[in-house]
Amino acid sequence: MGSLSELYQNVILEHNRSPRNYRAMDDGSRKAEGSNPLCGDQVTVWLRMDGDVIKEVTFQGSGCAISKASASLMTGVVAGKTRAEAEALFDRFQRLVTGALEPAETETMGKLAVFSGVSKFPIRVKCASLSWHAMKEALNSAEPTHT
């Protein structure tokens, strides 16, 4: 069993207090929603693409510290990545929060490594991955219509 400080690392608490890129995006963006019916958490993720590259990511929603901090950190690390890079990162993040990532790989996760403690709290895995699933869905959603 994990300890509370493993779960609520300072970076997570800080991003929960002041989430980055917490706003809706206007036209020309793709968006997707994620929800956890068990706890009622909801998140909306917006992406602005330039060809194959994710230029900007924003989010809004309600959820616990883990889900909010995870969304906030994700908006930072995914911006500037190509679709393929973002999808690969999605896979590694899933393995990180489920405890399936090798220690050497965890070191390559940068700031996201603060979520390694989540794997010791199985019910919080969904909190950490909610915004990532929404990001992936937005990535695969239809091209936005430009008005």
């Binding site: 069993m1 779960l7 608490l13 009622g40 309600s62 959820g63």
Partner: protein, 420 residues
């Protein structure tokens, strides 16, 4: 405290509970969680089991197990007697007119689904209305949505006030010529509100409308007297009244149960079967198809016997004191807001901590061995009404202590420290 209490045989107030001694009847309460003594404040989700219930179930499987209603052999006769004996006990416990009106189900949810499917099939037609309230558990919403959709009927809900009480004027307006059933919760699992069921039943009956009462929470906290309440259906669960999971009760007015078609077919619910057609057994067997949860029913009997021995008035009195104490203490923690401040409440304290999501509140408390519920409590319309995604909820049983409330308050102060 409660709208309908069992006719009191004892004069004066009940003797206070010896809570410390009673706690020893519950083996789980001696356990440690995360290295801390367990503080179990999630009783609205499920209650812990006294040794008497655990022993009864173990004894049944160890030395008495057999199927019921079919054996010519000794064990089957004994099991049948025990199972039917619990039906008698349930009828006495809730003061039902007769044990024929007690149907065993898997729980409150199944009891309500039984009524929605079976009663609904002949009672609801196109344009008819089913009246529920804005403080229902999903199990008293969704079965009616399914029935309404199947029959072309409509579902309406009585709004609730800022305190979390039913708006009775709105109830009177919504109770109309097309209303075919009123279904409401007795004691709200999300707010702790005790609804004026007797008054609601009187108003509905004045217009010839039957009433179903969701008693999932009230069965263990209020001394439910079905004849005094006057409701037509009452649903509750064994596991929320110190019994096993997987067993529940549906009480129904006899003439309604007689008129209702079976909802599941199978063994034990028939009078005769040919390939062309079948005829049904009398109530309540008509609604108990297949081998039932025999051990769980017998365990429920032990739970009710235990509750009676502890004393229902004494239980209610102590739980009221505990709720009043917890309400006062939790209100003093800076940044907490109570959700549900009805004048008549029991056993449930729902609250929000400013700036901290209930899941995070729950996780910090859990680290101290304190079990609460964080979430929407299967009552999303209630959350929407109060503009919160979820609440933290402490819910009490008679084995809880003031010291445990103090531990909760210390935990909430730690929440402020971690997230402050």
């Amino acid at each position: 405290m409660t709208a309908a209490t069992t006719p009191a045989p004892r004069p004066g107030s009940p003797a206070p509970l010896d809570v410390e001694r009673l706690r020893q009847d519950f083996p789980i309460l001696a356990h440690r969680v995360r290295g801390k003594p367990l503080v179990y404040l999630d009783n609205a989700a499920t209650t812990q089991k006294p040794q008497a219930v655990i022993d009864t179930v173990t004894r049944f499987y160890s030395s008495e197990n057999a199927n019921i209603h079919r054996g010519v052999h000794y064990l089957s006769e004994r099991a049948t007697e025990a199972y039917e004996g619990v039906r008698e006990r349930v009828a006495r416990f809730f003061n039902a007119p007769s044990s024929r009106q007690i149907v065993f189900t898997r729980g409150t949810t199944e009891s309500i689904n039984l009524v929605a499917q079976s009663f609904g099939r002949h009672a609801f037609g196109p344009g008819d209305e089913i009246l529920i309230t804005g403080m229902e558990h999903h199990s008293n919403i969704v079965p009616w949505q399914l029935a309404a959709e199947a029959r072309g009927a409509r579902l309406k809900a009585v709004p609730i006030t800022d305190a979390g009480e039913l708006d009775l004027d709105a109830f009177d307006r919504l109770l109309g010529d097309r209303t075919r059933l009123v279904a409401l919760v007795h004691l709200s699992n999300a707010l702790g509100t005790i609804n004026p069921v007797r008054d609601i039943v009187a108003r509905a009956h004045a217009r010839g409308v039957p009433v179903l009462v969701d008693g999932a929470q009230s069965a263990s906290h209020l001394s439910v007297d079905l004849q005094a309440l006057g409701c037509d259906f009452f649903a509750c669960s064994g596991h929320k009244i110190y019994g096993p999971t997987g067993v529940g009760v549906l009480y129904g007015r006899e003439e309604l149960l007689e008129r209702m078609p079976p909802w599941q077919g199978g063994g034990d619910m028939i009078a005769s079967v040919t390939i062309e057609r079948s005829t049904w057994a009398a109530v309540p067997a008509k609604f108990e198809a297949g081998t039932p949860m025999i051990a769980e029913v017998i365990g429920l009997g032990a739970a009710l016997e235990y509750v009676e021995a502890v004393g229902r008035e004494a239980i209610a009195a102590w739980e009221d004191q505990l709720l009043a104490y917890a309400t006062a203490r939790v209100s003093e923690v800076p940044g907490t807001r109570l959700i549900g401040t009805a004048r008549k409440k029991a056993s449930v304290l729902s609250f929000a901590v400013e700036g901290v999501h209930p899941h995070d509140v729950g996780a910090v408390l859990d680290d101290d061995g304190i079990a609460i519920r964080a979430g929407h409590h299967c009552a999303q319309p209630v959350m929407q009404r109060f503009g919160v995604p979820a609440t933290a909820r402490a819910s009490f049983a008679f084995y809880n202590t003031r010291a445990e409330v103090d531990a909760l308050v210390r935990g909430l102060e730690r929440v402020r420290t971690v997230f402050g």
